[in-house]
Symmetry: C2
Subunit: 117 residues, 2 copies
């Protein structure tokens, strides 16, 4: 259902790593968004991210009960569902919830996720 995406602008930063590939919420199927939000770990990530400042949280700073390999996978799923944006900052990768963009294309969905316990 999900597929690879492109548009990787040449990193002008100091990082030599390939920057993460992003998908804009506009290009995300409803099925994909729903599937991304149907996992407890990813819900926790989204909620924790929503309670933080943009670019404040590194990938390893979340309180979820999985190892880093699984965590990395979950971040990739969130990225390809248009839910988060990631940026390399030195050795770390920092995150941002794409609130406005996602809300524009899936109005009310993030609200629901963040309000419903």
């Amino acid at each position: 259902m999900t597929k690879g995406n492109v548009a990787a602008p040449a990193s002008a930063s100091a990082s030599h790593r390939t920057p993460p590939e992003h998908v804009h919420p506009r290009d995300v199927l409803l099925e994909t968004a729903m599937a991304a939000l149907s996992d407890p770990v990813r819900l926790a990530l989204v909620r924790e991210l929503a309670a933080s400042e943009d670019w404040e949280r590194t990938c390893g700073s979340f309180d979820v009960p999985v190892r880093k390999a699984a965590l990395s996978h979950h971040f990739a799923v969130l990225r390809s569902a248009g839910l988060i944006e990631q940026r390399d900052a030195g050795a770390k990768r920092i995150n941002r919830l794409r609130r406005a963009e996602f809300d524009e294309h899936f109005p009310g969905l993030l609200d629901l996720v963040l309000r419903r316990r």
Copy 2:
């Protein structure tokens, strides 16, 4: 994630079959609701149901590309996600979208599903 549920009122109808088990949206986890709506076939069922009158549609009357065994499974998933209600009417089983109840507990979610193509 989903689990069996109970509360099967004694069927006062003419049917001798065990009536379907229902789950109220109040008892549905967000994860479960999302998972139920992350499948194209189930989305089609929900949308077609939303475009029909309550109790108007039998299970076999939907335009989805799966056989009846799979269809039966999808209806069970929708039931346990609190999305539909079913009732036996003779040999047939008729359906209703639980719009109001579901909307009360997952505000905006059905709207999103029904508006977003």
